[in-house]
Symmetry: C2
Subunit: 695 residues, 2 copies
């Protein structure tokens, strides 16, 4: 599932670097996640005979929706109807479920607009305007600054820019570092927090094949759901929306409009080695552990099974994604291709004294920063994490708000700046219920993990455990915590620093106990890694520009992009994989895998067999270049009409974080015809179908 891994939006914006102008890659094929204001016009024209107009580009931009929880979506009716993936909506569907009403299992269809279910804490954004603020950002940096000082100076001016642009209610302003920091763009979004669930199929058909088929193809998933944006209590009058197509054919151009989360295509080879040998193994170690522990938790009974499901889906998805990334990095061919390109660029730089003086040290500086952080990177990851706990996350936000709000806006940690507060309060005051047994499980697991990695006698670990076993300590923290009540959280925030310092809530005390080291590791990361990367990747980007020329795409930043490609199959272990699957194939696979976990079908589908012609296209692949965060992106034709809904990439696409291979990298989508046919024939969602088709 192509949701952003371990979704944190800010993390998608961290660690990118600098260049002064757009630059091209030779022979791009269908590669790239392009800015809408710098589309790949030449390739589209030459290869696909398509030349998108400004009006076309504006139309798809205003129809695109970003889910702050880490996915993409699109407006598909004049009345604020949003289409996305089931797995993008899943955390909300889970939060709207109770032990009596398990919407993940049963699916949901609002019988009328009045019955659409308000989401407790979902924010969605529509990109409203963009402007280039590169000069203003760079003007804050002077020649004698260290990388850390330069980074801080940029952060301060960015804080000012976003404060100016985002002071209106309902507006979210972000400065995005594009081209590794070579350009800074100010993005303003219309931001909506009254979002309601309209329709979701059952998890078993949305995620048919489960972990076994995830990131694989052929595929048979109905991975969609629908929300509606409300404004002032009424359905949003959509600024624009996508119309529905008649369907697609093999060979057609498919254009993906969405929010890819993060790529590392410009990473140096040593930086890739760091990811291969340290960071990804660390992450996988945490994920394998979490997966096994969650399985044990869920197996204890049906209520645990339901409570732990959403975490489990996220963890297994991330585990499979990182496994594919690691396999890509352990394929020496990929590293060689990167090394060849790097050697060419370094030779170009070394070949001229002026270039060598300006950019020559960049690669070694980056290598040194990666090498140096090996000893503390895992500690940084774990100690600055949310411990997987909602209650701890609330407590930390409360503790930090008390410290940060009194500071001048530009001096605050970035997520507590004025421009971010509306989003923060949406999640902090969420009425979503807290499951104490799940929270105890998560905290026990997190506390034990700290002890496993750093030793139970480590001063921080020892302070957090407070002389108890992880289990007893987690019970004490959760059972004694009052932050499950949103009113209690609001009271603490509104009571300010004195009220927070006076609190004896054990979770608040825990957040205070960890905050010193958490902040200091964060600063260390920002100063010793982020700042060094930003400065030196900017040099590499400039060198690349000097060598290769003008127009290219920046690495993904969880901001709006267009990808493109043909609907076409590929070869896998000597077999040709066809681009489309059909409804008939779904039932065949269901029968072949009868009884295997993950291959169940809901009654609506076993009972509804025959209601849809078996040759109805179900899923399809195209060569568009996407990455986690693109989940829920619409796939449109040259008329801007919906032909599909992105929900995944194939297993060969997973090294796409670092490298795109057009011969096998494929985006996997639900076919638009399967969406309409299932809404009609299986779910009898006639009003929804009419709304989507504009009838």
């Amino acid at each position: 599932m192509k949701r952003v891994n371990s979704v944190k939006i800010l993390s998608a914006l961290v660690g990118l670097c600098v260049m002064a102008a757009a630059m091209p890659l030779p022979a791009l094929a269908d590669e790239g996640m392009w800015l809408l204001d710098n589309p790949p016009r030449q390739i589209l024209r030459e290869k696909y005979n398509f030349d998108p107009s400004d009006e076309w580009l504006e139309h798809v931009r205003l129809s695109a929706v970003r889910f702050q929880t880490g996915g993409s979506g699109s407006l598909v009716s004049p009345d604020g109807l949003v289409m996305t993936n089931h797995h993008v909506g899943a955390d909300m569907i889970a939060k709207l479920s109770t032990s009596d009403r398990d919407l993940m299992e049963t699916g949901f269809l609002a019988a009328s607009r009045e019955q659409e279910l308000p989401c407790p804490d979902l924010e969605v954004n529509i990109l409203w305007s963009t402007s280039d603020v590169t000069d203003r950002v760079n003007a804050a940096v002077t020649g004698e600054m260290t990388p850390a000082q330069a980074n801080a100076a940029r952060q301060r001016v960015i804080a000012q820019i976003t404060a100016e642009a985002g002071d209106q209610a309902g507006t979210l302003a972000e400065v995005v570092a594009l081209y590794q920091g070579g350009r800074y763009h100010l993005y303003t979004y219309k931001s909506y927090t009254d979002v309601r669930l309209v329709m979701a199929p059952e998890l078993s058909i949305a995620y048919f094949g489960g972990d076994t088929d995830n990131f694989e193809y052929p595929r048979y998933c109905l991975d969609y759901c629908f929300f509606r944006i409300y404004e002032d209590g009424k359905p949003l009058r959509s600024p624009r929306h996508l119309r529905w197509s008649e369907g697609s054919r093999a060979g057609d151009l498919a254009i993906v409009i969405g929010h890819p989360g993060r790529t590392s295509r410009l990473n140096t080879v040593d930086h890739l080695r760091y990811l291969r040998d340290v960071e990804i193994p660390d992450r996988l170690g945490i994920l394998w552990r979490a997966e096994v522990k969650l399985q044990e938790f869920r197996a204890r009974g049906p209520e645990n099974d339901r409570a732990g499901r959403d975490d489990y889906l996220g963890i297994t998805n991330s585990r499979k994604a990182f496994t594919g990334q690691l396999a890509g990095l352990l394929d020496p061919g990929n590293i060689e291709r990167k090394a060849t390109a790097e050697a060419r660029l370094r030779a170009f730089v070394a070949g001229d004294p002026d270039r060598a003086a300006r950019w020559g040290d960049a690669w070694d500086k980056i290598s040194a920063a990666q090498e140096a952080r090996r000893t503390w990177a895992l500690r940084h990851r774990l100690v600055t994490s949310t411990l997987g706990s909602d209650l701890f996350r609330y407590a930390r936000d409360i503790v930090r708000l008390a410290d940060e709000l009194p500071k001048p806006n530009a001096d605050r940690l970035r997520e507590y700046r004025g421009s971010q507060l509306e989003s923060l309060y949406t999640t902090l005051y969420s009425p979503a219920p807290i499951d104490p047994s799940l929270e105890i499980f998560r905290l026990e697991s997190a506390l034990s993990l700290l002890a496993e990695r750093f030793g139970a006698d480590d001063p921080l670990v020892s302070a957090l455990l407070a002389g108890k076993s992880p289990r007893r300590r987690a019970e004490e923290l959760v059972n004694g915590c009052g932050l499950g009540d949103p009113a209690a959280r609001r009271a603490l925030v509104e009571g300010g620093g004195d009220s927070v310092r006076a609190s004896d809530d054990p979770m608040i005390l825990l957040a205070r106990a960890i905050d010193g080291e958490s902040r200091s590791l964060r600063s260390r990361f920002e100063d010793e890694v982020e700042a060094v990367e930003r400065e030196n990747y900017a040099k590499i980007a400039q060198a690349k520009f000097a060598l290769e020329g003008e127009s290219t795409y920046p690495d993904a930043t969880f901001t709006l992009r267009m990808s493109f490609g043909a609907i076409e199959g590929y070869e896998e272990e000597g077999r040709l994989v066809a681009p489309y699957t059909t409804l008939g194939g779904l039932y065949e696979r269901f029968n072949r895998r009868a009884g295997q976990a993950g291959f169940e079908l809901p009654e609506s589908w076993t009972g509804g067999k025959g209601a849809i012609p078996s040759d109805t296209p179900f899923n399809f692949v195209c060569s568009a270049d996407i990455i986690g965060g693109n989940s829920g992106s619409p796939v449109v034709n040259t008329r801007g009409e919906v032909i599909g809904l992105v929900f995944d990439g194939n297993i060969q696409s997973l090294p796409g974080s670092f490298i795109y291979d057009g011969s096998v990298n494929r985006t996997v989508s639900v076919d638009s015809r399967a969406i309409i046919a299932s809404l009609k024939a299986i779910y009898k969602a006639d009003a929804l179908v009419r709304e989507i088709l504009g009838q």
Copy 2:
């Protein structure tokens, strides 16, 4: 399941230490895994009014069977019939299965003796004689030797002793270091390799409740199976055998005769901290990873599901066992109890100049050895492993035999000494089939693990990968390997060094590539850890003996012991857990957990409901002190009659590696009445029942 974790018999014999005489613990309650020639007479008499005669002890000794694969069993008929756990026999049951005949799923009952199935590579042993060789072993050590030299000297004399005692065919000789090396006993076994499967129930009833219920109670498992030992092609005339009882009652004394694998009860507190902070987290990291990867492998199709099952059962069992051990070590109360006892002993030593001079430095020496190995312990573990692969294990044995056999017996690696060769050849020439897809999976996983832990550019890793991805390399190694054929293995061994050095089998070349570092890490472990521990734990044991007096039990060494306790329940989170479960409870749990993985029942049981009275005792718990390796041990009454079959401990027993808590530590057994009732009413195994009951 109480099978020895990650079964390697030799590893159970490694790392134990020295003392000059038996020593007691005060207030032992039901604690202890006692030597049969030093039984806990006083406690048995005072608490249970039982005084076992020498004849009684000899009878149970000669009725006890050790499974070289890591479990226990017992002779239960005059014709060599051996009872053990299904999970002890499972690797054989799996090896006797094919895609057409899945005995794990269907169970097995030989219709006649002719139809009993010969196991490809199972060796079982019966303890025939024991003698004290402490003086001879210690005479090899002189005062000026370093710990490593002393260790090597002891190994050489042990090699001589076993060579002398084990030169007869069918005899296995081992010198066992008891009381941390305070005593050395020579054990000779009758060894049998013609062992045939007689009867096994279906996995789903043998392991009812799966991983969820493993190490939990109440419990409903029929974890038994039966083998028969053959000698000269005929059923063994059992030297002795256990008779069947009428059953047991709550409060009865229960005596367990079996082969506990390994405990660390005498470890120093720092050594326990090392296990808590380094070794167990390392092991769990490997297990979590393996568990997730095996799940993915098995989910790919029914043949994979079957092929990967036995590995999976072993891994999940070890994972749950180590999780419980870690939880025990992360409970500060346990560490405190250990620290209090240690402080008392150290004060006793420090209080006298002579004692201080002889033993005072032992604790710090052990701490220093643990501290020093932190940096290379994981590398030692992985590089000296079998990479999880049967083909690699064969290749390594072949490569090493070529190097070791020309050496004098006493200079060889211990597993290639004359006394061990018969056992080694049993496994090396096993006709058990090799599944190439499972082998590719295992090797890909192992090669990737080395890259994840040490980096893909590490010289050894890089040499093993040979410029390929782990997947491609594993395919090349397995597809090009001829060692799947036992005749090819035998030809290489019999061809000797020249033949092995001339081989271009890729697996042989791989084994040669890793062997240098593997041997050097092993030597480092033996010299810097094992030797230091042996020398210094011997001092601690002597100090303890001086403080506490005469008679106690040694840590477990996968040699014959007796444990004892009452059949009684315990308290868990405020609830009383009753000692017995019943057949009716099985069906209740089956219905409550309907549809959950691990809680299936085979048709013989769903169809056979009502065939056995629902109040028939099914499983029971007693307070006997056991550990992994005890699986399959008979539970007998004071008359030496079978009342049950040990198959597990409860979750509270898992810290039992380090500490015994009689209030909650319980052994879990199948009740003898459930065994007979199920054989009769469900499996119609009338001949087997008559044989067991002596009718």
